[in-house]
């Protein structure tokens, strides 16, 4: 009798063992659409990439569907260039390289706090913060998917803009407060110019006349509980910067809309339009259910603006689209804390 009880108990233990099902192979080409980098639940959640195509969310977590794996903690951004997708995973200090079917090709590890990408021909430049007050880095990844060059920068590099063989790098707030834009010559990895702007430069845009604009987000002074506004600058070819207008603190994701000849960016609660030379910002009307704005990108050929709403950062977020011509809006379910948006047409 005594043995039967133990036998039953041990049987229960072993009956609980289970095996994971093998994934079904999927060979769909991920050719175009809207890609959203979902940061995941901080600090313990895995991030995801949401794929929106043909006015519908095709996958809320495309990577895990195609790889039976998680991307890791805090997905910062996604990018595509020369046949590969690149995903920066901030807390995991890594970059995932994926093929056209979104299958993993290569992982770069130990790269610091990876942030954003820019294309330099068929090469890709990735920005990365250093730890604490440590220096940030730019990694140049070549077509063979090797890091062929590492450039140390004196700050926390955010978004970048490649112009010919030069790259403009916004040295943003990172773990401190910065106010510099750096211009590097890429082939020689040399610093050409450092330009001081408002606090927190974070994104660039080029208008139809080739003028390079940089957006600064300002910063929040915790000690005095004061919000310090940022500014929108135009960068002259010699590297000097001219402030065009003050912008609300927290502004980011600058882009240019050729259809309306305006620059578009967002703060935490609003989306703004700015026309070069004017002295006021225009606030766009948002769908009523918007709670906040985290990422923003423009599908210029179709004149559709996309922005992400992370809600409480702990539930399923939403991506909204607004057709800037018809003002028609749509919404698409994303994953947790949707942020940066990348559009591939």
């Amino acid at each position: 009798m005594k043995f039967s009880i133990y036998f039953a108990f041990l049987s229960l233990l072993f009956l609980t063992a289970c095996e994971k099902e093998e994934p079904n192979p999927v060979s769909d080409i991920v050719d175009q659409g809207v890609f959203v980098a979902n940061q995941g639940k901080f600090p313990d959640g895995a991030g995801a990439v949401t794929w929106i195509k043909d006015n519908a969310t095709r996958e809320t977590d495309l990577y895990s569907k195609r790889n039976v794996a998680n991307l890791g903690n805090t997905v910062q951004s996604i990018f595509y260039n020369a046949g590969h997708y690149f995903v920066a995973i901030n807390n995991a200090a890594s970059i995932e390289v994926l093929d056209k079917t979104f299958k993993r090709v290569k992982t770069f590890n130990q790269l610091g706090f990876t942030r954003y990408f820019a294309a330099w021909g068929n090469k890709v430049v990735a920005s990365s913060w250093g730890a604490g007050t440590g220096k940030g880095k730019l990694y140049v990844i070549n077509e063979a998917l090797e890091i062929e060059q590492t450039i140390e920068v004196n700050g926390a590099p955010e978004k970048m803009l490649v112009s010919g063989s030069e790259i403009w790098v916004s040295l943003s707030n990172g773990f401190g407060v910065d106010s510099l834009v750096a211009r590097y010559d890429l082939p020689t990895a040399t610093l050409k110019k450092l330009t001081t702007v408002d606090k927190g430069p974070n994104s660039f845009a080029v208008d139809n006349l080739g003028r390079i604009m940089v957006l600064c987000e300002g910063y929040f002074d915790w000690l005095n509980n004061i919000s310090i506004p940022g500014g929108l600058y135009v960068l002259a070819p010699d590297g000097s910067a001219i402030k065009l207008i003050s912008v609300p603190q927290g502004s980011g994701n600058l882009c240019f809309n050729p259809a309306s000849q305006t620059f578009i960016f967002n703060s935490f609660s609003d989306i703004y339009q700015y026309r070069f030379g004017e002295h006021a910002l225009i606030t766009l009307a948002l769908p009523a259910e918007t709670s906040s704005i985290y990422g923003l990108a423009l599908d210029a050929p179709n004149n559709i603006l996309y922005f992400s709403d992370p809600k409480d950062y702990a539930s399923q977020g939403t991506v909204f689209s607004i057709n800037l011509e018809s003002q028609k809006s749509e919404k698409y379910p994303a994953a947790i804390a949707p942020g940066q948006i990348f559009i591939r047409n």
Binding site: F9, N70, S267, K311
Partner: protein, 600 residues
């Protein structure tokens, strides 16, 4: 509404069940000075014998959850769907939850020393003050009562070494205990990531716990005791999936208590002086936080004929942290009055506790406990203060936060079908208003707001069976708990009506202990149901089966008692996470060797 009707029906029907009155538990002497020794809830306190080889013993308790950042990070307890900051960890009746965060890391507990801890499932704020709204784990050491020396060593295949020494002594009317526990844990473990078995790098956690206590009887009426607990730990905290992310934490905590009790005729007077001094430093890329906290608690309790009890406590808390703009203080005066009425088959207890915090009266604590035969009904009104970080965090701290308030109802029934079979059942319903939640606001900041209304209700069943027909001593314990904890807040959008994160709807466990002559066996099986980890229940962690078994031998050679145990954890190599992205270890093994020496 149907649930509420069922609950009311249950409450009124339970007293009709014929049951046998039980004696109160006798091992509660050091639980809480303000409460009478016959504190009614003590009968339903669950002994949480943490002297075993593993902390997961606590998971065998119904309704209790552990949220662990892997096997080597922060581990906190939560009870019946309440938050970790609502579950007090008590040392000498005073919560040792961190003043800044409100939570306590149970992974640093000297589990060998606290060999007789008790878990109070009901809110205890009326007796202990802040942070016990969701119950309390009272840490206790039960001395052997005679001279003796205990030495033990424990080594796991994850390369964790723990050494432990315990010295019990007695001379005339003086009794002392000295405990020392040294840990050197590398936490190198196997885990699943993306269907692949990986081995984590080492994450060193090293440090020691030193505990000491002295009791002395002075004449016939006086008794004094002094206790001290020193903790000093350094550790590296892993990132998700055991990535090295350069997170380090140092904990240095000094906790001390001095108590005096006097009794004569119908009077009893207890006094207590408690002082904590704690340091918590945390470094990670971009963060270098350093906090020093201190707590001073002086309390006197007068008891008359076990009928009346009056207590007054003065408490001062201070936090000096490099992330606050200035040093922060909180002063409290905690008053409590308890009246007990003796019934023919039970007691009625009523406590009222006005608390004055920073010169402001808090919502009145009220605690009604009806103890009739083996049935108990409890109605409690509790509150919980915001933590210092909630109030003073530089980027978003909200000094205008109100206290969280709760109204808690529970009904308990003990059934003794026979001397061998015991069944405990509980139904409960907790309402919390002004639940503090950090929410994103403008300027990319987060701020805590009194936003949510929470309703946690559920049932717990605990079955104990000690068969007398077996030729050897065996006990079987099984439990099941159903916890429905939802957010009732109108403004929460898609989160409204959804289960709170990391609260399993279903949890069950089975434990078997047996002794055959010099052999002993202990086997655990725990089922942890699906747990949501997003507020709208969009994502969830799958159910987990947690298993383990111990086989040991006891050998007595004259005055030396030796124990050699082998334990296997997770023998079925189950893949599970208590917190997302922090997988728990696959199968690992532990060897435990202990010598006890008791001279005649």
């Amino acid at each position: 509404m149907t649930s509420l009707r069922c609950f009311i029906l249950y409450v009124f029907l339970l007293p009709l069940v014929p049951t046998k009155a039980q004696e109160l538990s006798a091992n509660l002497d050091s639980i809480e000075i303000i409460a009478p020794k016959y504190l009614p809830s003590s009968r339903f306190a669950t002994p949480a014998d943490s002297s075993g080889l593993h902390l997961f013993t606590l998971l065998q308790l119904p309704g209790l959850s552990i949220n662990s950042i892997g096997s080597s990070g922060l581990s906190t307890l939560s009870n019946r769907g309440m938050a970790s900051r609502h579950t007090a960890i008590l040392y000498e009746g005073v919560p040792i939850n961190g003043l800044t965060t409100g939570v306590f890391d149970v992974s640093l507990l000297p589990t060998h020393y606290f060999n007789r801890s008790l878990l109070y499932k009901e809110g205890l704020s009326s007796f202990t003050g802040n942070q016990a709204m969701g119950g309390a784990l009272s840490l206790n050491h039960q001395p052997s009562g005679r001279n003796g020396l205990v030495s033990s060593a424990q080594y796991t295949s994850t390369q964790n070494l723990t050494l432990h020494q315990l010295w019990n002594g007695a001379f005339n009317k003086v009794r002392w205990t000295l405990g020392w526990e040294r840990t050197h844990h590398l936490n190198q473990q196997q885990f699943y990531k993306d269907l692949t078995i990986m081995t984590s790098p080492s994450f060193l956690r090293r440090g020691h716990n030193i505990n000491g206590e002295v009791d002395m009887e002075l004449g016939k009426n006086h008794k004094i005791s002094a206790k001290v607990w020193w903790q000093n730990f350094d550790r590296e905290i892993p990132g998700p999936f055991y990535l090295r992310v350069d997170q380090f934490q140092q904990d240095k905590n000094l906790r001390s208590a001095f108590t005096h009790s006097w009794h004569k005729a119908s009077w009893q007077l207890n006094s207590r002086f408690v002082y904590f001094n704690e340091t918590l430093n945390y470094q990670s890329p971009g963060v270098d936080s350093r906090a020093k906290t201190s707590l001073l608690n002086i309390k006197t309790t007068a008891i008359f004929k076990k009928i009346w009890q009056l207590a007054i406590a003065l408490q001062s808390e201070n936090v000096t942290a490099n992330f606050y703009t200035q040093s922060r203080n909180r002063s409290s005066m905690l008053l409590s009055m308890t009246r007990n009425w003796k019934l023919q088959h039970g007691w009625i207890h009523l406590s009222v506790s006005p608390h004055l915090v920073n010169n402001k009266w808090m919502p009145l604590h009220a605690d009604l406990r009806v103890d009739y035969r083996s049935f108990q009904f409890i109605a409690i009104r509790n509150y919980n203060l915001p933590g210092f970080n909630d109030l003073y965090w530089p980027s978003g701290g909200n000094p205008k936060l109100k206290t969280e308030k709760s109204f808690q109802l529970s009904a308990h029934q003990l059934w003794h079908a026979s001397a061998a079979l015991q069944l405990k059942t509980t139904l409960y319903s907790y309402h919390i208003n002004d639940f503090i939640q950090w929410v994103p606001t403008g300027n990319n900041t987060w701020t805590p707001l009194n936003r949510k209304k929470i309703w946690s209700r559920g049932a717990e069943i605990n079955l104990g069976y000690r068969p007398d027909w077996l030729p050897f001593l065996s006990t079987f314990n099984a439990h099941y708990s159903f916890t429905k904890a939802t957010n009732l807040d109108e403004a929460s959008g898609t989160s409204r009506g959804k289960q709170l994160i990391y609260v399993p709807l279903h949890k069950a466990g089975l434990n078997i202990k047996s002794n055959f002559s010099f052999l002993h066996l202990d086997a655990d099986l725990i089922y942890l149901g699906k747990r949501f980890d997003t507020t709208d229940n969009f994502l969830s962690l799958p159910p987990a089966w947690i298993t383990g078994a111990t086989l040991g031998v006891n050998v007595n050679i004259k005055q030396v008692h030796m124990t050699l145990d082998y334990r296997i954890e997770n023998p079925i190599r189950a893949q599970y996470e208590l917190v997302r992205s922090f997988p728990m270890p696959l199968r690992y093994h532990t060897i435990f060797l202990q010598f006890k020496y008791h001279p005649k």
